[in-house]
């Protein structure tokens, strides 16, 4: 009897010690995660408070962690001096048109690859997937020559510049692949039933396939819009003039230099511009977190 209670007490003690260790480990875990969170969030915090400081306050040798005087004027200065309004408009035009067109093209070809039968389907699909391995720069070189030959450079005119911003990278093999996989999950019996009823392919696609594949389509839409928002190199090559410039290209604008200097950047105004460019991305992220994370986990690298 006594021996058993001894044992019980021992177990109790051990489990008590175990509990203390566990609590300690849990605290350590949360401490580690919080430290990482601080490291991740700090640049955003620094961006926001810097964007509200005056230049004089920004370059104080002892930094302030909250602006002494909140200067919203930096934002309007970034907007006007940096001509950001125009660049916003350009980006929205390019983003919207290329997203809508890309969705149409992607849906049609994904449907063909998933539901229709034609000669050489599998070989063609494999060949398309293989092009995903090739670095984009290889396409950029020839596309640059091609749009030049088409007379689509920014200097050729307003519409022409937009054509070259929209068309060359409109079709994404990856999106076709993603949507095809989704279409394939929809049972074929639905399609055959629709055929028996005399429903046309297009109507079936519109009434059945598209609603069922909505989550994938939302992911594609968001990733494509983000791609337009972040595109930098192609716009810089083909249409880097005031008429066509996109937001990302406007960010390193000379207008943000401190007056009378060729090297010192007026960081508060520039940080305001950075915050303006970042805000839409965050808003989209807040509302579509699930779709973005799902799309990204399948896509591999940053578009």
């Amino acid at each position: 009897m006594a021996a058993i209670t001894m044992k019980e007490r021992n177990i109790k003690q051990v489990s008590k010690r175990q509990k203390v260790v566990n609590v300690f480990a849990t605290i350590l875990r949360y401490l580690f995660l919080s430290l990482v969170a601080v490291a991740v969030l700090f640049p955003f915090y620094w961006m926001i408070i810097s964007s509200l400081k005056s230049y004089t306050e920004y370059k104080l040798s002892i930094p302030t962690f909250w602006p002494k005087e909140v200067l919203w004027g930096n934002y309007s200065e970034a907007f006007t001096a940096g001509n950001l309004g125009r660049y916003f408009g350009n980006t929205v035009i390019v983003g919207l048109i290329s997203t809508v067109l890309s969705l149409v093209v992607t849906v049609l070809s994904a449907f063909a690859f998933a539901r229709l039968e034609f000669k050489g389907k599998n070989i063609m699909f494999a060949a398309l997937l293989a092009t995903m391995m090739i670095p984009g720069e290889l396409f950029t070189i020839t596309n640059y020559i091609t749009v030049n030959a088409f007379g689509w450079m920014g200097s050729d005119g307003l519409v022409q510049g937009f054509l070259s911003l929209i068309f060359p990278f409109l079709v994404s093999v990856f999106y076709i692949y993603l949507l095809r996989q989704n279409f394939l999950q929809i049972p074929n019996s639905l399609y055959l039933a629709a055929k028996v009823d005399g429903t046309s392919d297009l109507k079936y696609l519109w009434k059945v396939m598209i609603p069922l594949a909505m989550p994938t389509l939302v992911s594609i839409t968001i990733l494509k819009m983000m791609g337009a928002w972040n595109s930098y190199m192609w716009p810089r090559l083909v249409a880097n003039d005031e008429m066509h410039k996109m937001v990302t290209n406007g960010l390193r604008s000379v207008s943000f230099l401190v007056e009378g200097s060729s090297t010192d950047i007026n960081y508060p105004v520039q940080m305001a511009a950075v915050a303006i460019v970042s805000a839409p991305l965050f808003i989209v992220f807040i509302f579509f977190r699930k779709y973005i994370m799902k799309g990204v986990s399948k896509s591999g690298t940053k578009g």
Binding site: V40, L60, P135, I141, N143, V296
Partner: protein
């Protein structure tokens, strides 16, 4: 009858994609590959002869020879390889650690997960500017009447901890200081994707393995190295491969931090990458050199992918 009707229809549905792909994907693959062998293919000269796609230039290996012996390209290659070798292992190990700890907690997991994903939904040029502001020394400009100088928040922290301020990226800064800034930025930027994938992998690991380890009283460290890492190896291989591919295409993050000069004032081009070299060649209309450069990039990416696949086929436990 139905068969052929379908065939015709399928091609109709495919036609928009196929037309665009033919012009902007298939043709570039052919033309850029051939252009790499068109010796001295330059846009200005080509325009004057009328064949802008370079049909008049002699075929040979001169572009490759030039690029391989060109010190600027070799420097770009060195920078790119260095950035890959420094950032991929670092970000993978960090992401693994974060994912494992994240997977071991319940409350607040979603909150942390969302926070950690934030750097992904950013514009790499824009946030590069934020990093540059954190490392940059501002106010040294002699025109400035107000002499107050900010050494940057990172240096402020270093000084507060008893260290000495470092010239990270201003005129006269060292190559390794520049590299350190780039490594920090790239790792910060690469973590979200890796954490997302690895955490997804962890959550699909069968709990029975952990329960068995618990019954056996296996120490935590051994659980990590003997169960977690092997079970996660396909995902680890995936983030390493995509990390290397992304790393070899590194360009816009350098532009974000250092600007289009690709280096600090007084040493422009010092941090240029392979992709940066290709773009420079395009902008100066040297299409032959640009094509040669991008073919070399393609070869490197292919080789790295094959090596990674080979290694992971041996090591990856499925």
């Amino acid at each position: 009858m139905v068969e052929s009707k379908h065939q015709w229809k399928a091609w109709l549905y495919l036609s928009p994609a196929l037309v665009l792909l033919a012009i902007f994907t298939v043709w570039p693959i052919i033309n850029s590959t051939v252009s790499a062998f068109r010796e001295g293919y330059n846009g200005y000269i080509a325009a004057s002869t009328g064949s802008i796609f370079g049909g008049d230039f002699p075929i040979g290996f001169a572009n490759f020879k030039y690029v391989a012996s060109y010190s600027k390209f070799v420097d770009c290659l060195k920078n790119t390889v260095l950035l890959c070798v420094l950032t991929v292992p670092l970000s993978t190990v960090l992401a693994l650690l974060i994912a494992v700890v994240l997977n071991s907690i319940k409350p607040l997991r979603r909150v942390f997960q969302t926070i950690y994903f934030l750097p992904y939904v950013t514009n790499s040029i824009a946030i590069g500017l934020v990093f540059s502001s954190m490392f940059n020394i501002v106010g040294l400009n002699p025109v400035d009447i107000n002499q107050s100088v900010s050494v940057g928040i990172v240096n402020n922290v270093i000084v507060a901890l008893g260290g000495e301020a470092i010239n990270w990226m201003n005129q006269g800064s060292s190559y390794w200081a520049n590299m350190a800034v780039m490594v920090i930025y790239i790792v910060w930027n690469a973590l979200p994707f890796k954490i997302l994938i690895l955490l997804g992998g962890l959550q699909s690991v069968n709990k029975q393995y952990y329960d068995a380890a618990k019954v056996d009283g296996t120490p935590k460290w051994r659980v990590l190295t003997r169960i977690t890492v092997p079970m996660l190896s396909p995902m680890i291989a995936y983030v390493v491969i995509t990390g290397f591919i992304g790393g070899f295409k590194e360009y816009s993050s350098v532009v974000g931090v250092f600007g289009e000069d690709m280096g600090p004032a007084g040493a422009s081009g010092r941090l240029n990458t392979i992709v940066g070299y290709v773009y420079e060649a395009i902008e100066s209309q040297n299409f032959g050199l640009a094509s040669a450069g991008s073919l070399i990039l393609f070869a490197i990416i292919l080789a790295v992918t094959i090596v990674n696949l080979y290694v992971s086929n041996k090591k990856v436990h499925y």
